[in-house]
Subunit: 335 residues, 2 copies
């Protein structure tokens, strides 16, 4: 009735009176082993609380069962993962991956050299990688994508890019946002957001296009950092330096829009009467604000689904094309 601690398959094999190979096959339900011995070995394993070592298994079969989710902090070092957009996307990816039996390995990376991604994918820790946001790293993504297949990126699609991306049509989205505030009567439109990232720049371009199509002047571009406090500060500064405020604001993200509304309201500017504000993303909290935020909706649920789906197909060897999803205008109270 003694229970020596079983640390590996060999120990179990000794106790069961069979060879390690047999134990391995029994535990993995290989059809090669008779039902009888299989049950016997499984019972023994359970009784001794034995579980095969995953690392050894991983090494041998060259798989990890984990997917890396990477947040590259290219131009905005101070941005934290706690940013609502990342966080929302992350939750969705976690749900999606868990459902498919994969673990999620989260990394926040500050790209200091150009081989951060090489390092990561070559480290063999994950079976594939999902990058959230291109930031200013498109070149790196392209370079790695050429040799490392299981890689998908949330972000813009640009004709000629080499990496597989999933994202909404940011140009169209920016245009819709601008068009909407114009329709609501805005004539002097400003764009709030940091345009060092590819996606944001695309949104700005769409916005510009709508304005010029309507015969209106190009927007003021107000660069805004992503942390809450910085955003408030930048917006306040803008309000102080400009005597005539815009009557329409296209914000690059919901978070920026919310900061803008909050600052403007504090200064006695009425939203949407004096200025119409449109956000981008349609995060869950967009409908909770006062006034509820009009925004360009990116369907993050199907976005996350697509990311995982494409990645798994790539892991399986398939070659997949990028997906561009149509954005959608959601009109609430802020415009």
């Amino acid at each position: 009735m003694d229970k020596p601690h079983i640390r590996n398959i060999a120990d179990l094999a000794k106790i069961a009176g069979v060879s390690p190979g047999t134990v391995s096959r029994a535990l993995s339900d290989s059809g090669m082993i008779s039902q009888k011995t299989r049950d016997r070995i499984k019972a023994l394993a359970r009784e001794h609380g034995f579980r095969p070592n995953v690392m050894a298994r991983n090494l041998r079969i060259q798989k990890t069962g984990a997917i890396g989710v990477i947040i590259p902090l290219g131009h905005e070092v101070r941005q934290h993962i706690s940013d609502p957009f990342f966080i929302t996307m992350l939750g969705l990816l976690a749900d999606e991956l868990t459902e498919r039996g994969y673990d999620l390995m989260l990394s926040r990376i500050i790209p200091e050299d150009s081989d951060w991604l090489d390092k990561y994918v070559d480290s063999g820790r994950v079976d594939g990688a999902i990058i959230i946001g291109q930031s200013d790293q498109s070149a790196v993504l392209d370079a790695v994508a050429e040799r490392y297949k299981p890689l998908v990126v949330w972000g813009s699609y640009d004709a000629g890019q080499l990496h597989c991306s999933v994202g909404s049509d940011n140009v169209a989205g920016g245009r819709m946002a601008a068009q909407h505030v114009i329709d609501q009567g805005a004539r002097r439109v400003a764009f709030f957001g940091d345009i060092r990232g590819v996606e944001m720049r695309a949104r700005l371009n769409g916005c510009k296009k709508a304005l010029s199509d309507a015969g209106l002047p190009a927007p003021d571009v107000v660069p805004i950092q992503l942390t809450r406090e910085d955003a408030r500060q930048a917006i306040a500064d803008y309000c102080n330096t400009n005597t005539t405020l815009p009557d329409g604001i296209v914000a690059a993200t919901d978070v920026i829009a919310m900061a803008a509304i909050s600052v403007l309201t504090e200064r006695g500017v009425r939203v949407p009467d004096d200025v119409r504000v449109v956000g981008y993303d349609d995060l869950p909290l967009a409908e909770q604000t006062a006034p509820p935020l009009s925004t360009i909706r990116q369907d993050l649920v199907t976005g996350a689904h697509n990311l995982v789906d494409l990645l798994l197909r790539r892991i399986a060897g398939e070659d997949t094309a990028s997906v561009v999803m149509p954005p959608e205008l959601v009109v609430r109270g802020s415009s």
Copy 2:
């Protein structure tokens, strides 16, 4: 000028004309190797884009460099990771762990048997685990904690529990919330929330205590699921069945409080004039609502910091006690 692909340390060793052992030592900056060969080998490695395989290393060293973050969905299967509280905590943990050089492995687990946690920690995939929320799994946590040291839990501390926990004093928090609505004039207080989890039950207990101390009747307890829609439905039902509504609501979480405010406002009940509402958590979005939410603040930033700190100390072999953090009342517009 040919570059055969280097797949392992042995290949590199062959090219460099040394033994695998030497390469390993050179790459890991072991002092045993002369500066000259060390530099030479590192240069070769860089030139060929070689990186040692992490899985093999892990197997040998018996470490993974990853910490598991687990969200057990005990009584609430339908709850998703996308829940704002989890997500917030997750982001903070990610920041904290990244800073300390660990990767974060995220798992959402539905505890179907009682050995889900055994399976997890024995799988050898992580060096330690952080569990977010006790749910109804305290017994399991205690059982595993007795034999597996690197384990910390976000949640309530209950005298006699065996696992190391970090969390705020939920009883005190519940009491503060109730006391506050009483101070604001409430006489009929209701508690909104699902009390199957340990933490929520503690909050309810605190709430009850405050009421009885004030000579007021015990609260109506309205069980509320955690998904948005369910919450709204439950609250609407409650309003329909009860002719006299409470004049004070202690909500088990901010999300519930926000749902309550939203439903009540739609029905013409004024917050805070007709009914005072207090949430719990002080999520970032609590100050964004209309009216901004009064709530019991749990300092998640130091919470996350503590979780990681204790875990790493446990990994290092230390034995650590649980931490109970004081909650704090934040009065905003809803009370």
